[in-house]
């Protein structure tokens, strides 16, 4: 199928064409009074953010060290993504809904904000909330509400905004912050370390199995603002937690920067399952606007038999640059990465993972599914590294690309480094397009072309979707269908 055919399809079907134009249903703006810091970046801004959050001295010190280090760094250029230079001085590094005090419960939250989350399908009223999912809602730079906190507290589980954790559990923050992603890690993580405003914090104590999915919903609203949140999840020995993350932003014709950091720590026998459905505004079909999503996510299997799995469905953002990774320190620890990344129109994704095998008998699995449509560009970039200590390490990697237009791009850049002679590493990659005969077969059974495409795409992604919690899997399928509307003629 070529570009001309797409245009013809649009002419034949004006309704479809209009659906494509406003396919981003989450693009509205919340009209709310905001307080922001000036659009600039210097030590004073860093101090201002820290002061606004009433942080202890160690936090300010850490931020300043990060900021000073950032000044010595240069923006990375090794990935396959391209964008005009980012003016780091033209961003509001802090934006928050104006409230005098931190709301104690939902009755104190601005009703306009509650309506926003309602509209996004994330009700924050607990009686209406999805059963079994506790939500931390992050609006621009701050957490506005966290549900089911009390219930979780009874089990000793801490689930709150990062700001609250800094106030109430400074010893935990101090012990784990930067222990997986140090502030020197990379350009965007270092910037985040200096200016991050809020995010979620989770601590699950020894032997506790968190009874509900924990979830953070990120929303960028303010114009010219960046979002720099930081999430820290610690699963103590034998603990289990499943964590979900969702994100949306208004449609704006400028690009906005999202540079988050997620750190996971799994101690012995602990298991963390981290799922993301990323649907930041991707820009319009000409490639105007959209979020630059430059995220650092890393988990450390710090104890023996620890297990961390990352599952991600990436359909949004103008540019996605993220590599959720696992450091397999503990013996017999397990790391997993399951990813679907879809790029349509002019979206670019450069995503993948790193699996660093340090402990004995460590195992990792990588399943990456890239779908490129329109002029989208999709790259898998991954590293599997087996250190001399990692006797009997095992890795299996499967990278598949599905190509849906003759001007899209799909790249595979795996790095395999093995320094232990008892390790076994296997990597396979395939590239395919949706076959005309497959489409014909399904259509001859009565499916519309779009349904046929969705069916094939869902089949292609099945191995990843089945790793998602149920509600999320359904949501992810719908999202994929919407993102692909009009992608094939």
């Amino acid at each position: 199928m070529n570009h001309a055919e797409v245009s013809r399809a649009d002419e034949r079907n004006p309704e479809l064409a209009s659906r494509v134009a406003d396919e981003y249903r989450w693009g509205f703006v919340t009209d709310i009074e905001q307080e922001t810091v000036p659009r600039e970046l210097n030590e004073d801004i860093v101090r201002l953010i820290s002061a606004r959050k009433n942080e202890p001295e160690f936090m300010l010190e850490w931020r300043l060290r990060a900021y000073r280090h950032w000044l010595t760094m240069r923006e990375p250029t090794w990935s396959s993504v391209h964008h005009p230079p980012i003016d780091y001085q033209a961003i509001h590094y802090y934006a928050a809904p104006k409230t005098r005090t931190q709301p104690k419960d939902l009755s104190e939250v601005d009703p306009e904000l509650l309506r926003t989350y309602e509209k996004l399908g994330i009700p924050l009223q607990e009686r209406e909330a999805l059963a079994g999912v506790a939500v931390d809602a992050v609006f621009d730079s701050v957490s506005v509400a966290t549900t089911f906190k009390d219930k979780l507290e009874r089990l000793g589980i801490i689930f709150c905004s990062f700001s609250e954790a800094v106030q109430k559990h400074p010893e935990l923050v101090r012990a784990y912050l930067g222990s997986v992603v140090p502030y020197t890690d990379n350009y965007f993580a270092t910037l985040n370390s200096a200016v991050f405003s809020d995010g979620s914090f989770v601590y699950v104590p020894k032997g506790v199995r968190c009874p509900m999915e924990l979830s953070t919903y990120f929303r960028i609203n303010a114009r010219n603002s960046g979002q720099f949140e930081r999430t820290l999840i610690v699963a103590d020995e034998g603990a289990y937690v499943s964590y979900l993350e969702g994100c949306t932003a208004p449609m704006r014709d400028e690009n906005q920067l999202h540079a988050a950091v997620v750190e996971l720590v799994a101690l012995a026998d602990a298991r963390i399952k981290y799922s993301t459905v990323q649907n930041w505004y991707p820009g319009d079909r000409e490639g105007r606007g959209g979020i630059y999503n430059f995220v650092t996510k890393r988990g450390d299997c710090r104890g023996d038999r620890a297990h961390i799995s990352w599952t991600q469905v990436e359909t949004g953002s103008a540019i996605t640059w993220k590599y959720p990774s696992c450091i397999l320190t503990g013996n017999d620890s397990v790391g997993e990465f399951y990813s679907v990344a879809l790029t349509n129109h002019h979206q670019q994704a450069d995503t993948g993972t790193k699996m660093i095998h340090i402990g004995r008998n460590t195992r990792s699995t990588i399943v990456s599914k890239g779908i490129s449509a329109g002029s989208g560009s999709n790259a898998y970039r991954g590293l599997v590294k087996v250190l001399p200590s990692a006797a009997n390490a095992r890795n299996h990697t499967q990278c598949d690309s599905l190509l849906m237009s003759d001007h899209c791009a799909a790249h595979t850049f795996p790095y395999i480094e093995v320094k232990n002679a008892s390790a076994t590493v296997e990597h396979e990659a395939t590239t395919s397009k949706i076959g005309d005969d497959q489409l014909f077969y399904l259509r001859s059974r009565g499916l519309s072309e779009e349904d046929a495409v969705n069916l094939i795409v869902n089949g292609f992604c099945k191995e990843v979707f089945r790793e998602l919690p149920m509600e999320f899997a359904v949501e992810a399928q719908k999202l994929l269908a919407v993102s692909l509307e009009g992608a094939i003629g």
Binding site: S405, D406, C408, H411, F413, I416, T424
Partner: protein
């Protein structure tokens, strides 16, 4: 690059300039090289290979060509020998018809010489300091007898910037064997640049045996341009040297052009072998195949970095890559980077890469038939290596390669682990 090192390179050019042509162009290339210096691991393509040892060594231009070469085995066809970078007499007859230095100003050579080599630092220094190398020109429709080019090095601290140029006109066919070798204990640096131009429907079978001396460094570049319906079958066997980095770049410029880039490396002792392949599918219906087998033992390190790029519009490109590697000892290392970069949709592209050990179940099966463990492993290692020899087996060159391969597979004592 510090002044002392820069001076050495300038002296090398001064030393050879009375014997070579185009000194102005050489001067310019030298200055470009000195400005950029040797590549460093900060460059993505040099991530796994540091040239510190090259940087520190007191290189000079070779002072003498060597006339008496060791026997290179039975070579059916034309034998052309180069000693320390210059043509030497064999059997009383120098093969001047295959000397690039003697032909570089011929009309046909001038059209293509240096048109593919690019401007990487190591190419610039080759451009500045090359003295001779192979010239193979096969006119349209002709079938050339096999050519065996031996590149022999015997001078300590000499740098040999060999330059080869191979041109096959439309419908021509040739078989080329290149054999790089040298005196075991001399630290020399072989830096060959090879350009290969294949006309419409031309066929070239090209075996490169890199069997440099144990103290040698070898940094090679081969660039191939293929017209429509041409076929290039290459096999690289890397079994020598202390530090080897070789790069092959193939441009499939015409529809139905086909290349097969196979190879085998054995990184035992402290050998470092870094093998790069880069294939550009620039036209529709082009095909590439890569089958590589790597063995790392002792304190050896093997690197396989292969990139296939399918250009927009190069529909029905078909690219398959297979890289299997064995790690045989606790201090060996294998790094693999199989990459695909695809800008079209109607393509068949895939790769598979593995790093592992010999299959213990197979070892047991052979032992249960009375074969001792050492022999069983040797049999399996041999079978593994042979998987890379695909096209060679039917080419008549297998017999020539055999003793070299057999010797290399007898890894240094104690390097095979139980």
């Amino acid at each position: 690059m510090n002044l002392e090192t820069a001076t050495r390179y300038r002296q090398a050019l001064d030393y050879i300039s009375s014997a070579v042509g185009h000194v102005d162009a050489r001067q310019r290339a030298l200055e470009r090289f000195l400005a950029s210096g040797l590549p460093t691991p900060r460059l993505e393509d040099w991530k796994y290979t540091a040239l510190d040892a090259l940087e520190r060594s007191p290189w000079h231009a070779p002072e003498h060509a060597r006339d008496a070469l060791p026997d290179s085995g039975d070579t059916p066809g034309t034998r052309v020998a180069f000693g320390n970078g210059r043509l030497v007499h064999t059997g009383g007859q120098p093969q001047r018809e295959h000397s690039l230095a003697a032909h570089v100003d011929d009309a046909r050579a001038r059209q293509v010489f240096d048109s593919l080599a690019g401007d990487a630092a190591l190419t610039q220094i080759n451009r500045a300091l090359w003295q001779d190398g192979l010239w193979l020109h096969v006119p349209a429709g002709q079938v050339a007898p096999p050519v065996f080019a031996v590149h022999y090095a015997s001078e300590a601290d000499a740098m040999l910037h060999t330059r080869n140029l191979v041109v096959l006109e439309a419908g021509a066919q040739a078989v080329l064997v290149e054999h790089y070798r040298g005196v075991p204990d001399r630290a020399y640096w072989q830096n060959p640049v090879t350009e290969i131009v294949l006309g419409e429907g031309a066929h070239l079978d090209h075996l490169t045996l890199t069997e440099e001396g144990a103290a040698a460094s070898h940094t090679g570049l081969a660039v191939v341009r293929q017209a429509r319906h041409s076929r290039y079958s290459a096999l690289s066997v890397n079994i020598g040297g202390r530090l080897v980095r070789h790069e092959t770049r193939v441009n499939l410029d015409g529809p139905h052009a086909e290349c097969r880039l196979d190879g085998l490396f054995i990184a035992d002792t402290r050998r470092h072998i870094d093998q790069h392949l880069h294939v550009e599918h620039a036209a529709p219906r082009t095909t590439s195949r890569q089958t590589w087998r790597g063995i790392a033992a002792g304190r050896g390190r093997g690197i396989f970095d292969a990139r296939v790029v399918v250009h927009a519009g190069a529909q029905q490109a078909d690219a398959q890559q297979s890289s299997r590697n064995l790690l045989l000892s606790p201090h060996a290392e294998i790094d693999v980077k199989p990459q695909l970069e695809i800008h079209a949709d109607d393509v068949k592209c895939g790769h598979g890469a593995t790093v592992g050990q010999l299959d213990e179940a197979q070892v047991f099966y052979l032992r249960s038939r009375g074969i001792d463990a050492v022999t069983a492993r040797a049999l399996l290692l041999r079978a593994f290596a042979e998987e890379a020899l695909g096209w060679l087996k039917n080419s008549g060159l297998a017999g020539w390669l055999e003793p070299h391969l057999a010797a290399a597979l007898r890894l240094q004592e104690g390097e095979r682990t139980a």
